[in-house]
Amino acid sequence: MMSLPARLISIIVGLVMLIIISYLIRRRQIYNIYAFTWLSFSAFLLLIGFFSPIVEFISYVIGVDFTPVAILVLIIGGMFSILLHLSIIVSGQHQELKRLEKEISLFNVFKPK
């Protein structure tokens, strides 16, 4: 069973993240589909804060006896998925930038004299 302070911290961090991300989305500083992984991460923190038995269940499933380690494993997994999502976004933007650069290059044609 998670201790009360751990659950409180998890809930508070999840809420703060949710507020920051929603604020950034509203100010158009994060494009909403890119915020998807961040929002699911904060939703996950809130979930383990409110329904802590889920953490015990997960640690049982992945075979970790010490519950805090299971939390760390889950958080690292979440970080990895955020990084993966960022890589996908960056690759998509690279592709898009290249397409634009090709189009622009066709506008500036230097003809021979």
Partner: protein, 237 residues
């Protein structure tokens, strides 16, 4: 007069040799326009190329040689050229030899002609690492895509109109010498190799340093191994 062939040269800081390449290509192949795709060179590549009668476009060098060639393909597509040839800016691909490739494509029904350095008695002597990587890539392409190409990494490639359209319309297409080969093969285009003798490099240094050679090999091998099964729309001949 509308010209038929686009000869594309990707150049970065090549003002010593680019003028020579452009002049020779114009002399030897009459119905061709020369397009130099410059990666914002620091020297006078653009000025020299224009002065010698080439059309120049610029493409940021961070997109690499692949980006430059894609820009060239897009240019050929938009301006309605029937053939697209890519040659190197260092003068190692002789325009006189490219005529053989053009003949091959006009006589035969091939869509894609590769100027191969290994078919005949070539002057080309790559170092061990380079030779090994070319051999490995060729073997992998043969194994996974069932097509035997001796010189997969040759920079001298010739496409016909159908292939230009096929590459230019695919916005997810990323050019590399090897990927162009297997993408075209998977899509059902016919590929042929023609012997091309290389002239020795006169100016500058090859971008193929030992580190680059490893990166090139790594990139291509990852690309070949992780790509199948590929879902490529088949082209109807």
């Amino acid at each position: 007069m509308k010209k038929d062939i686009l000869i594309m040269v990707a150049a970065l800081n090549e003002d010593k040799s680019i003028g020579h390449v452009v002049i020779e290509a114009k002399e030897k192949i009459k119905n061709a326009d020369i397009l130099v795709v410059d990666g914002y060179s620091r020297d006078k590549t653009v000025e020299v190329a224009i002065a010698n009668g080439a059309t120049v476009i610029q493409m940021a060098k961070s997109f690499g040689i692949g980006g430059a060639v894609e820009a060239g393909i897009l240019y050929a597509y938009r301006h309605g050229y029937n053939y697209f040839v890519r040659i190197d800016a260092d003068g190692q691909h002789r325009p006189a030899e490219i005529i053989n490739m053009l003949n091959a494509i006009e006589n035969n029904t091939a869509d894609f002609v590769i100027g191969s350095r290994f078919l005949g008695n070539s002057n080309y002597r790559p170092n061990f690492l380079r030779h090994f990587s070319i051999f490995l890539i060729s073997a992998l392409v043969h194994l996974l895509y069932k097509i035997k190409i001796y010189d997969c990494t040759s920079g001298c490639q010739l496409y016909n109109r159908a292939l230009i359209e096929f590459f230019a319309r695919d916005i997810r297409f990323e050019y590399s010498e090897v990927r162009a080969i297997w993408t075209a093969h998977k899509a059902g285009f016919k590929i042929e190799e023609v012997f091309l003798n290389m002239a020795p490099r006169t100016h500058g240094v090859s971008s193929f340093s030992t580190l680059n050679a490893f990166l090139y090999m790594f990139k291509n091998i990852v690309d070949i191994i992780f790509s199948p099964p590929v879902f490529i729309r088949r082209h109807k001949r």
